[in-house]
């Protein structure tokens, strides 16, 4: 499994840009927002955390269709699924590797984008923490979508339709807990814990469902 993890990271790094595409897309979303609503700093700082979350969510969805597609195309998937390693575990490792390569850079870049949106330091910290905890859930849910559409030639759009509704709760709780961190009367712990629970829950459910799907996806 460590071998698989290393391979996934290596491919992503060699492929170049894999990590950067997400960050650049994230940057695009962040830049477009002030153009859309005008450069009102007060308003920006208010909606900033939500914009950060939406940008991160879309950027995470961006690369998901490649999660299994590449392995399917070059035949690796066939060999991967018939090893003695549990398929669920294998998918879990792939998800984690994918998250580290494509989403972790976003989390690290969050402070910079937060400053551009005039988010308070506390808000930036909260955004980073909630993104760090919440975005893996998006990858795990996305793995189900990716496994379902792996046989389709143009699965990308379909993944978005299938996965978007399911990740909305993640977004809601992510933004709620940032809100709780900034505005005093709102609670922070409750939504944050629900967010953690959601990630843990999907980390089991997502790979499990994807493995049911991939076991005989071959044709």
């Amino acid at each position: 499994m460590i071998a698989l993890f290393k391979r996934e990271l290596l491919i992503a790094l060699r492929g170049g840009g894999g990590a950067l595409t997400g960050v650049i897309f994230f940057l695009c979303v962040i830049t477009i927002v002030p153009f859309g609503i005008g450069p009102d700093l007060k308003l920006l700082s208010q909606i900033g955390p939500a914009v950060l979350w939406i940008g991160a969510l879309l950027a995470t969805l961006l690369g998901l269709d490649r999660l299994f597609q590449q392995d399917k195309e070059d035949g690796s998937l066939d060999i991967l699924v018939c090893q003695e390693h549990a398929l669920t575990w294998l998918i879990f490792v792939k998800c984690i590797a994918h998250w580290i390569v494509s989403t972790l850079p976003l989390v690290i870049a969050t402070p910079l984008f937060g400053l551009m949106l005039n988010v308070s330091p506390m808000g930036i910290l909260a955004s980073m923490v909630t993104l760090f905890v919440g975005t893996p859930a998006i990858t795990f849910i996305g793995a189900v979508g990716a496994s379902v559409t792996v046989t389709l030639p143009r699965g990308g759009v379909l993944i978005a339709i299938l996965v978007l509704p399911l990740v909305i709760p993640v977004l809601i709780f992510g933004v709620l807990s940032i809100d709780g961190a900034i505005n005093e009367p709102q609670p922070f712990t409750a939504p944050f814990l629900i967010l953690c629970a959601f990630t843990l829950f999907t980390s089991v459910l997502g790979p499990l469902a994807a493995s049911v799907m991939l076991r005989h996806s071959a044709d």
Binding site: I2, A3, L4, K6, R7, L10, I11, R14, G15, E73, D74, G75, S76, D78, I79, L80, V81, C82, Q83, E84, H85, H216, A218, D219
Partner: protein
């Protein structure tokens, strides 16, 4: 040890490809699957390798490792090579060696067998089609599995390389392996059996087609 298939039926989509087929392959024996294009050789091989569900019947490796499934004890080499173009030959082979079962030959050694020792550190993307295929063949050697299931293994190989592949196969069979191959190449092995797959005109969606026999 022998591989036993009992009255297996396999569908591809709604088309029935194999109907109630039974065969046995003994240790050190090779089963050569032949048949015209589209008859379902690949589908049959994929089903044996556990990549497609059997509609009925069973395939078992008798006398193999008890705790492992058949699909975990076989090497499957399909039409694609299962190599990552972004990684070097060494990285590719190292990964599969670590990932799939117990190591057999050393990587350098296998590359010498397939005659590509000089490519060790080249990215797979730089290699030609035939060379990639030879690396994929080398992949069969780096971990030890009892059964090889190979689908058109010599596609894209020249005469000399095909000869090399036959030598590898006969060494594998002499060593007690079981080989199942879909190929038109005359495999010059000691013990071979052949299986001809006929195109069927049956459809598997009979639940929606035949209905009641009224």
């Amino acid at each position: 040890m022998k591989l036993v298939a009992e009255t297996i039926s396999v569908n591809r989509g709604i088309k029935r490809v194999v109907q109630d087929l039974s065969f046995e392959v003994e240790q050190s024996e090779a089963l050569i699957v032949t048949g015209e294009n589209g008859a379902g050789k690949s589908t049959l091989l994929r089903a044996i390798a556990g990549l497609l569900p059997l509609d009925s019947g069973s395939v078992d490796l008798q006398g193999g490792k008890e705790e492992l499934l058949l699909r975990e004890q076989c090497h499957y080499l399909g039409h694609q090579n299962g190599l990552k173009t972004a990684l070097s030959v060494k990285e590719n082979l190292e990964f599969w060696q670590n990932f799939s079962g117990e190591p057999d030959f050393a990587i350098q050694e296998t590359l010498e067998i397939v005659g590509l020792a000089h490519t060790l550190d080249l990215p797979v993307g730089y290699l030609s089609t035939g060379m990639k295929r030879r690396i994929a063949i080398a992949k069969l050697l780096i971990t030890r599995k009892q059964v090889w299931i190979v689908d058109e293994p010599t596609a894209g190989l020249d005469g000399a390389s095909s000869k090399m592949f036959i030598d590898i196969c006969s060494a594998f069979c002499d060593d007690g392996g079981i080989l199942i191959a879909a190929t038109h190449l005359p495999l010059d092995l000691k013990k071979t059996k052949s299986l001809h797959v006929e195109m069927l005109d049956t459809y598997a969606d009979d639940a929606f087609d035949s209905g009641l026999d009224t």
